[in-house]
């Protein structure tokens, strides 16, 4: 059994949960923020916003085209969006899972993004994840002291 590596990032937005949610599935917006790199140009954004649907974002860079693939697993507007994600360049066939949770906060919204290194790890229960996160955090502190 292999515990997951999980990354969590949170952000407060001064906008309604719907606005924040829709940006992820709107090709015009996703093309601007999702995989655009400063020195690249997004030349293709195809989003099939259905459960099981795929998305392709192509970022043209000096070094060549980076093709990012997504596949949607959960689309629950405006609260939750889950997609499998294969960034380019990545190990061939290496999918990771990204979950986005959006909660209302006053007139705004809090977005919590969770990125799991390997989708098979999603099956593991919370305790395992917490244990793993804890050990990574405590070790990070130790390493910072090196």
């Amino acid at each position: 059994m292999t515990p997951p590596i999980i990354l969590t990032v949170s952000r407060d937005f001064d906008a309604a949960p719907e606005t924040v949610f829709d940006a992820w599935l709107d090709p015009a917006k996703a093309g601007k923020f999702l995989f655009a790199t400063p020195d690249g140009e997004v030349v293709k954004v195809e989003i099939d916003a259905r459960v099981g649907g795929h998305a392709l974002i192509v970022d043209r860079r000096a070094s060549g085209d980076a093709r990012h693939h997504l596949q949607y697993e959960v689309i629950d507007r405006p609260h939750r969006l889950v997609f499998l994600f294969r960034a380019d360049p990545a190990g061939e066939g290496q999918w990771t899972r990204v979950s986005i949770d959006i909660a209302a906060r006053g007139a705004g919204a809090t977005l919590t993004l969770t990125h799991e290194m390997d989708p098979q790890w999603a099956a593991y229960e919370d305790q395992t994840r917490k244990g793993w996160t804890m050990i990574l955090e405590s070790l990070a502190k130790v390493m910072a002291d090196d």
């Binding site: 590596i5 606005t19 917006k29 923020f33 244990g131 130790v142 390493m143």
Partner: protein
């Protein structure tokens, strides 16, 4: 790198071994000291230490009659590196999304 991390994480799947690593994070320990909090025999603790050693997480050295264990952080640094890289990526993406939403709001006003 991912395969290598698999071995690391397999060794970390066991709660006793994670607790041992947490102890080692505080400094070098003997196998007896690692066994003590877990009501575990020396042989039992030694087995766990061997699993951690195989994963490259722990190093052993002889000190007189004792064997001292030390944490080797390199495989964990790789995991940390992965986490840091993606944390930066997503924070940058969210910065752009925030700016995008703000700009849209200003246009609407």
């Amino acid at each position: 790198m991912v395969e290598r991390l698999d071995i690391t994480f397999a060794a970390l799947a066991d709660p006793t071994r994670r607790a041992m690593l947490a102890s080692l994070a505080q400094g070098e320990c003997s196998i007896g000291e690692l066994a003590a909090p877990h009501a575990m025999s020396f042989a039992g603790a030694s087995k766990h230490v061997k699993a951690l050693e195989r994963a490259g997480l722990v190093e052993r050295r002889k000190a007189g009659r004792q064997q001292l264990c030390r944490l080797k952080a390199e495989p964990l640094r790789e995991a940390q590196g992965w986490l840091r890289q993606w944390e930066q990526f997503w924070n940058e993406r969210l910065d752009v999304l925030e700016a995008l939403i703000e700009a849209e709001k200003e246009r609407a006003e």
